[in-house]
């Protein structure tokens, strides 16, 4: 008879790891390393992400005993990873953010869209029209070019699909500010995709 194995919950593993069970900590790492690496790439860069990954799990281990079960373990861990990424970035020479304002939509004097419907729709097809690898490289570049105040809320909410409340908490912002910045980041990135497919945004 096959006995189905029930995976322990994150919270159960965290409790065991906090009590000194290093196998439980190993399981936490296995469960989250891929997701944390992806987040780190999005918030920093491919070259910085390995350091952020190590720093995150070091911090998680250090603070396991202060995990209070008020939030889900995953949310708590993402918050630590976000901080690790932001600290890492701060330690680097600050790159002058290149504003993407030129990629915001254009309007005529009456407030109507200046572009044609076909032009306005085209960025939606960027993934069919462009080579996947080239698009991936340009997309990473575009996200890095966003001013940090827009980049972080956009990455956490739209790419990592965290709730507005969790993003606000992680970045110490008001929820309304998170929403405004996510919206503006989407507008800029939409224009960037438009430029990539050859249409002036």
């Amino acid at each position: 008879m096959v006995v189905p194995t029930v995976e322990p919950s994150d919270e159960a593993l965290a409790a065991r790891a906090a009590a000194g069970d290093d196998r439980a900590f190993e399981q936490i790492v296995e469960r989250y390393e891929g997701r944390i690496f992806r987040l780190a790439c999005r918030l920093t860069s491919d070259t910085d992400a390995p350091d952020v990954l190590q720093e995150t799990f070091l911090q998680v281990h250090r603070h396991l005993s202060s995990f209070r079960h008020e939030s889900q373990f995953g949310t708590w861990l993402y918050r630590i990873a976000t901080n690790a990424a932001l600290m890492h970035r701060r330690a680097r020479a600050r790159r002058a953010a290149e504003p993407l304002d030129a990629f915001l939509p254009r309007f005529d004097a009456q407030g109507g869209h200046a572009a044609t419907p076909a032009e306005l729709q085209l960025p939606a097809r960027a993934d069919e029209l462009l080579d996947q690898q080239a698009l991936a490289a340009r997309a990473r570049e575009a996200i890095q070019r966003l001013p940090e105040s827009y980049r972080d809320p956009f990455v956490l909410r739209d790419l990592e699909e965290m709730s507005t409340a969790d993003v606000a908490h992680a970045l110490s912002l008001e929820p309304a500010t998170v929403r405004q910045r996510v919206h503006r980041a989407r507008l800029m990135l939409r224009g960037y995709l438009s430029d990539l497919v050859g249409v002036k945004p």
Partner: protein, 84 residues
């Protein structure tokens, strides 16, 4: 709120798509979008933007990075010695 221009629609778009607008504003925008091909097209590409960026930036963990993480955590005594 009777007449809406595309530019206001763009300002309100996130709230519009997430159902966060007051009913009268929503109705005015619905009416505008119903008669505006440009806004329909714009909304399509606005919605596609996070989807496309999410898909193309979904990095997977390279084996060497995974190995370095494990070596590091072992060196710190945070995980058991031996094969992982």
């Amino acid at each position: 709120m009777s007449e809406i221009a595309c530019v206001s629609g763009v300002d309100l778009l996130m709230d519009y798509l997430e159902g966060a607008l007051a009913a009268d504003v929503r109705a005015a925008l619905d009416a505008h979008v119903a008669g505006c091909e440009r806004c329909v097209a714009f909304i399509e590409s606005y919605r596609a933007t996070p989807r496309i960026l999410k898909q193309v930036t979904a990095a997977s963990l390279p084996a060497d990075v995974q190995q370095s993480l494990r070596t590091f955590l072992r060196s710190q005594g945070l995980v058991p010695p031996g094969d992982w």
